[in-house]
């Protein structure tokens, strides 16, 4: 009986990764986040994984769903997105709920500044951003714009560059991403991106 079951299970899982016996072996769930995103989700520059602690639940959910649906993390130049997507692909709705609960339990601690730009120039550039993300970069759920203050600056740099280059936000189902792709052009170039993120570093929520 056991043999029959096992033979059957092997046939069905040759190309897959799951099998029925797995729950008996290791206690598992989908709470993998902190391996990459650092202790208490405070981000890890070493693997370029951003801060999750303090991220709004609605924004986290949308991004996990985008990764899972191949809306984000598919462009070959989006290295960090490509690293994220296979994990999100495996998530069920229940594990997304569980992860959001878990992330909400982490204390929000603003990230340290690691970049050297010109915040004064960045301040002027930020006025366009403030319309959606708020004057203190505190975010605005009704506009679908996440908080930027307190996020790792190296992550913001990468994402703004990705929006500008079309590595992020180019998927037809990513309407918020499309807005960002339009708006990011007001920053003009990498120097503009550096300056605006330097300004965001001065804000707190």
């Amino acid at each position: 009986m056991l043999k029959t079951f096992f033979a059957f299970s092997l046939c069905t899982v040759f190309w897959g990764s799951l099998n029925a016996a797995e729950t008996a072996r290791e206690p598992i769930n989908d709470r993998y986040c902190t391996t990459c995103h650092g202790a208490d989700g405070r981000g890890n520059e070493g693997v370029q994984a951003p801060r999750l602690a303090g991220m709004e639940p609605w924004y986290l959910r949308r991004q996990l769903q985008n990764f899972r649906a191949d809306v984000r993390g598919v462009h070959p130049e989006d290295r960090e997105g490509i690293a994220m997507r296979p994990m999100a692909t495996k998530l069920t709705d229940a594990s997304i709920d569980d992860i959001i609960d878990w992330v909400s339990s982490w204390e929000y601690v603003p990230a340290e500044a690691t970049i050297d730009g010109d915040p004064a120039r960045g301040r002027n550039l930020y006025s366009g951003c403030a319309v959606c993300h708020g004057g203190s970069a505190e975010g605005n759920e009704s506009l679908g714009a996440p908080a930027l203050a307190g996020q790792n600056d190296w992550y913001l740099l990468t994402q703004l560059k990705n929006f500008m280059a079309g590595y992020r936000g180019a998927h037809p189902d990513d309407s918020y991403g499309a807005q960002m792709r339009t708006m990011v052009n007001t920053l003009r170039n990498e120097a503009g991106i550096l300056n605006v993120v330097s300004y965001i570093n001065t804000l707190s929520r």
Binding site: L10, V13, F14, W15, G16, S17, L18, N19, A21, E22, R25, E26, I28, Y32, T34, T35, C36, H37, G38, A39, D40, R42, G43, N44, E45, G46, V47, A49, I82, A83, R85, P86, M87, A88, T89, K90
Partner: protein, 526 residues
């Protein structure tokens, strides 16, 4: 008349041809320079009652070395291990084992037999890695020989002879023959200008001739070294046809093939019988009770008189106070853990890049390679799967475990694929050597070290250029090797100049122990 060369001139000559390293080795052989060191012999001072608590972060080989040595002299060690298993990148996979890749969790389906295992990480021990071998001896680990270069294994390149695989022995015999013929010609032509005595020149020609199995005319006309086309035992052997040098030059694979038995992978290599994790078991037999599994470090705070570690286990947060801390958490993960390290120390942690090595394995339904005279060793392919390793475990049994891909330097290619894409790639690559491969193998597993939970990388990469260590890299390395406040040591092969070897992990741990011991002795003297 040729003039005699002095020993010093001979050294200079070798130095000009081979660089300083060649001169150092030759000098050692001539008894001018000291030989390399013996295995370290640690003579650690016994623990003192008021300062004996040790925290070890990570149950990899370096962490276990620390626990083993310090337990011997009375320290109270606690090992925090983030994953469900000890050993880190010394990982032998058997029936039922979890391969905890982020986003691609796998369970090994190999048959449950003692010889059906796969060394997904460390797999070879050079006989000169004395410190590791000393532990193998002390811990009674059963070792056996590992075969790296196998002359009957295959070489395959789509550009070579229409993609038809040839035997390693055909490639290497003919390539050596042609290289020797070139060398012999250059020696013949330049004989008068050579700074050798007649006797030396004669010896050199003899070596060249033997290297390539040249005829008396110093020409290569094929060799029985490549085996026989027919006969050879009860009848005279018939020599195989030569493969033209121009054809052999269609593949660049000689760079790997002629290097397989050199340097770190030169004979003799050893392995632990039954799987490399037998070494880890040797340590855990002594210190396994000290390991707290599924314990993820959250913060490391170095204090004046010790180190405070906060970690999560079973859904709650714990605090561990220690007098000393030895940390083999990968540098790129340590940067995501709260700490109060000095900024230059953090810069060093951030500087190291993570390795991308990738391996895959199949269970073979029958040991088809043994029917082709292959017992162990490596077949080389000029495609992304690159290597097939044949097991020495279980010779002449029904089944065996094959390594189906090994990409040390550029594993991101396969890492970025789905599991199904990876397996299809290895089947497509492998069937270029073994035509029925697809039907002969089953139960695949893949190990993308870049995505393994609690690892996210293979061996540390310090050097960013091929021209060697920069001064900045040297400084960061030496900074990271030094303890923070004399209390917190980073260890592991990442804190060595020769990462990816178990010996480096062991030696980094021994360096830290010796440093701590020296500091303690100074304190006592004061």
């Amino acid at each position: 008349m040729s003039k005699q060369v002095t020993r010093r001139e001979f050294l200079n000559l070798i130095s000009a041809a081979g660089g300083t390293a060649a001169a150092l080795k030759a000098g050692s052989a001539l008894g001018l320079l000291p030989n390399t060191a013996q295995a370290a012999s640690l003579d650690l001072k016994a623990a003192n009652a008021s300062s004996r608590k040790i925290a070890i972060l990570g149950a990899g080989l370096s962490g276990l070395t620390i626990a083993y040595e310090l337990s011997k002299v009375g320290y109270d060690c606690t090992i925090l291990e983030a994953s469900h298993r000890p050993g880190g990148r010394i990982f032998t996979i058997r029936h039922g084992d979890l391969i905890d890749e982020i986003g691609n969790r796998q369970y090994c389906q190999f048959d449950d037999e003692p010889h059906m295992y796969f060394n997904a990480g460390a797999a070879r021990i050079p006989s000169t890695h004395r410190n590791l071998l000393a532990y193998c001896k002390e811990l009674d680990i059963d070792l056996e020989i590992f075969i790296n270069e196998n002359k009957t294994s295959y070489v395959q390149d789509d550009a070579l002879l229409g993609g038809k695989p040839i035997r390693n022995i055909d490639y290497t015999t003919h390539t050596r023959g042609f290289l020797a013929e070139l060398l012999a010609k250059s020696l013949d032509n330049a004989e008068m200008d050579q700074p050798f005595t007649d006797a030396e020149a004669e010896t050199l020609m003899g070596i060249i001739s033997s290297f390539g199995d040249l005829g008396e005319d110093h020409l290569y006309k094929g060799s029985f070294r490549a085996g026989y086309a027919s006969g050879g035992f009860l009848k005279h052997g018939v020599q195989k046809d030569i493969i033209a040098f121009r054809d052999l030059l269609k593949t660049p694979m000689g760079r790997q093939l002629l290097n397989a038995n050199e340097g770190d992978t030169g004979p003799v290599l050893l392995q632990a019988r039954g799987g490399m994790d037998r070494i880890i078991q040797g340590f855990t037999n002594h210190v396994g009770h000290q390991i707290r599994y599924r314990s993820m470090v959250n913060a490391v705070q170095v204090k004046d008189d010790g180190v405070e570690i906060s970690y999560d286990q079973d859904g709650s947060r714990h605090l561990l106070q220690a007098d000393y801390c030895f940390n083999c958490i990968p540098s790129h993960l340590m940067t995501g853990i709260s700490n109060n390290f000095p900024s230059q120390y953090i810069n060093a942690l951030k500087y190291i890049r993570r390795g991308t090595a990738y391996k895959a394995a199949f269970q073979a339904k029958q040991r088809f390679w043994e029917e082709e005279d292959i017992y162990g060793g490596i077949s080389w392919m000029n495609n992304p799967s690159n290597q097939i390793w044949y097991p020495t475990a279980g010779i002449h049994k029904q089944k065996g475990i094959l390594l189906g891909a090994y990409d040390y330097g550029n594993g991101e290619l396969h890492t970025a694929m789905t599991q199904q894409q990876r397996i299809e790639a290895h089947l497509t690559d492998g069937e270029k050597i073994h035509p029925n491969y697809r039907n002969l193998v089953e139960k695949p597993i893949t190990i993308a070290w870049h995505r393994m939970n609690h690892m996210l990388g293979c061996s540390a990469r310090w050097e960013r250029s091929r021209s060697g260590w920069t001064q900045e890299e040297e400084e960061l390395y030496h900074h990271l090797q030094q303890p923070v406040n004399g209390r917190h040591y980073m260890i592991g092969d990442q804190v060595s100049m020769h990462s990816a070897w178990q010996e480096s992990a062991v030696m980094s741990a021994q360096w830290a122990l010796a440093d701590m011991d020296q500091r303690l002795r100074v304190q006592v003297d004061e």
